[in-house]
């Protein structure tokens, strides 16, 4: 039953495009040329990581000492058989760079997810409840920040031993603070907004308010920090591997390739430069995507 008809001023054309929906975000993202390029690089990297056994021309660990330190194809002495040359043990550089993407992206994504999950929960609880919970959690965050993350990672990996999952765990457990701080401050400003009071007024429980009303509203800054953290974790993994404390030797990583290559920089630059370029491109592409995502995913940007 209709009680009354609202004035014509009440009418807004139905079916106007909805804010925050995926297609709108994607369209806005595609308008940014640099972001499109970065996204393309990322898709390529992801494909390389996923389908490494199919794409890579050689087993990344198969050695051929007779073909050691061959230069890339376009230099004198190079051949099409090894487009990016070979390393000091005669392993194919192209195959190793492709396989290296696997560890880098896995560690990057894994660490960002883990840190994001911890940091988001801490930030939500801290910002929503305030009081002693907030004080305890934020002092923990301060303690965490006072520790140089890489040094802590070094100590833990050195103690527990190296391994892919240890690296992910360590980088995840050291990276949660920035998520927690940003989520906390967002939640603190959201908490006093009327729609949270309104949700409480209709009897919604705290846990549901956090999950259904607060979490979606902090997703935009979260996504941005997460992308930047992926890039940081990729570099951190490379640093650990470079120091020999990352993943075991037989797993190919850009960091350990860099470490191997530096011995031959004077004579065979390609051994260090190609993993370096891969690392830099990955980190750059993720950062650019993250920046573009921040500009685009902010619902405030669409407000009419």
């Amino acid at each position: 039953m209709t009680v009354m008809t609202p004035a014509a001023a009440d009418r807004v054309p139905a079916g106007t495009p909805t804010v925050g929906s995926g297609s709108v975000v994607l369209r806005a993202l595609l308008r940014n040329k640099l972001a499109v390029l970065a996204l393309a690089v990322l898709v390529l990297l992801l494909a390389a990581a996923l389908f490494a056994p199919l794409i890579a021309p050689y087993d990344p660990n198969s050695q051929d000492l007779l073909l050691r330190l061959r230069p890339p194809a376009w230099q004198d002495g190079g051949s099409g058989a090894h487009p990016l040359g070979t390393d000091q043990l005669g392993r194919d550089m192209l195959s190793r760079v492709i396989y290296g993407a696997r560890v880098s992206l896995l560690v990057g994504a894994g660490a960002a997810l883990l840190a994001g999950a911890i940091g988001t929960v801490v930030g939500l609880v801290s910002g929503y409840f305030g009081g002693w919970a907030d004080r305890v959690l934020m002092r923990l965050a301060d303690i965490q920040l006072a520790f140089p993350a890489l040094l802590l990672a070094l100590a833990i990996v050195g103690f527990l031993g190296s391994g892919l999952w240890y690296v992910i765990l360590v980088l995840g457990f050291t990276g949660w603070v920035s998520y927690a701080r940003v989520v906390r401050s967002e939640v603190m400003s959201l908490r006093s907004r009327d729609f949270i009071t309104e949700a409480r007024a209709i009897g919604v429980t705290d846990a549901t308010i956090m999950r259904r009303h607060l979490l979606p509203n902090v997703m935009a800054p979260l996504a941005t920090i997460a992308t930047l953290h992926v890039a940081a974790a990729v570099v951190a993994e490379a640093s650990l591997s470079y120091l020999g404390l990352g993943v075991p030797k037989e797993t190919v990583t850009w960091g350990s390739m860099l470490a191997d290559g530096q011995l031959y920089l004077g004579t065979s630059w390609w051994v260090a430069v190609f993993p370096g370029i891969a690392l830099m491109l990955t980190s750059l592409a993720i950062n650019i995507t993250g920046d573009a995502l921040r500009d685009v995913a902010d619902p405030k940007a669409y407000r009419r």
């Binding site: 609202p6 909805t18 009071t197 409480r200 259904r212």
Partner: protein, 281 residues
């Protein structure tokens, strides 16, 4: 407590009837880092089923703090309840746990807030926000809650509810949003509705519609309404009884006609003197 839910006519109530919601000697402080604000001091109010109680006063007079106290929604800290009781259904609401209050909020006592622009979650379909009340309070399935929410949107006069259900708050005008808020408040079939300046943020033509809607729905569902406002014209048109608040205290309360005709308190007299008189009142 047995409820007298028979249909009443919109006239003064027998004095002996048990009030549905009764605030007795409520005092609320806000303890700020540098000072203590006595927001509500020894306030007593009562409202019966089917009746509208208007609480009038200027900004900072303690109207909203009193209203939010009923559902325990004042931010604590800094808010501290220093005395009094709020009786509903034989319980003192101030003594209930957060969990027990959660069962009353939205189902027995509902609220409509002042600003419909900020009271809806910007990232959720408005229909889902209406249905959320039901999902929380009843064992309804998703489909049932959706049906009930659609019916509630229809009841508050939202055209094409099925279409509106899937829209976001920013796609609706202020008047439509306030209708959504009212639907959210009413879908749980509360016995008491607290409307905290429900029309202040709306423009004049829409204000009128929203007030008419509230009155119509009140009669239909025999609700007690606590209407918080600073607009005496609104009080004259809609309320049965009125309580005038100033600086955290109730300075005068009684039947609307009595208070308007024979204001006993000096503040009420001054308030009435500065109100443009309605010929029809």
């Amino acid at each position: 407590m047995t409820m007298d839910r028979q249909t009443r006519d919109h006239s003064p109530h027998p004095v002996d009837a048990e009030p549905l919601l009764q605030i007795k000697h409520l005092s609320v402080d806000f303890r700020l880092p540098t000072s203590v604000v006595h927001a509500v001091q020894d306030v007593s109010l009562a409202v019966h089923a089917g009746e509208t109680l208007a609480v009038v006063g200027e900004s900072g007079s303690g109207k909203s703090a009193t209203a939010l106290s009923v559902l325990g929604l004042n931010p604590t800290p800094p808010c501290v309840y220093t005395g009094g009781e709020i009786l509903f259904d034989g319980h003192d609401l101030l003594k209930l746990s957060e969990k027990e209050l959660g069962r009353i909020r939205g189902r027995d006592i509902a609220m409509v807030f002042q600003d419909p622009m900020t009271s809806l979650d910007p990232l959720q379909h408005v229909g889902a926000q209406v249905a959320e009340v039901l999902g929380h309070h009843t064992g309804m399935s998703r489909a049932e809650a959706r049906e009930a929410a659609l019916a509630a949107l229809d009841e508050v006069g939202i055209p094409d509810p099925a279409q509106r259900y899937r829209q976001y708050p920013h796609e609706l005008s202020g008047g439509l949003r306030q209708r959504v808020m009212i639907a959210t408040a009413l879908v749980g079939r509360p016995r008491v509705l607290i409307a905290d300046e429900p029309t202040t943020a709306l423009d004049v033509t829409v204000q009128r519609q929203i007030l008419d809607l509230l009155v119509t729905l009140q009669h239909k569902h025999d609700m007690a309404v606590v209407l918080i406002t600073h607009d005496l014209a609104v009080v004259a048109e809609t309320a049965d009884r009125v309580a005038v608040m100033n600086k955290g205290e109730v300075v005068e309360s009684g039947d609307v006609l009595d208070v308007f005709d024979r204001p006993a308190d000096d503040y009420t007299r001054r308030l009435l003197a500065v109100t443009p008189r309605l010929e029809a009142a």
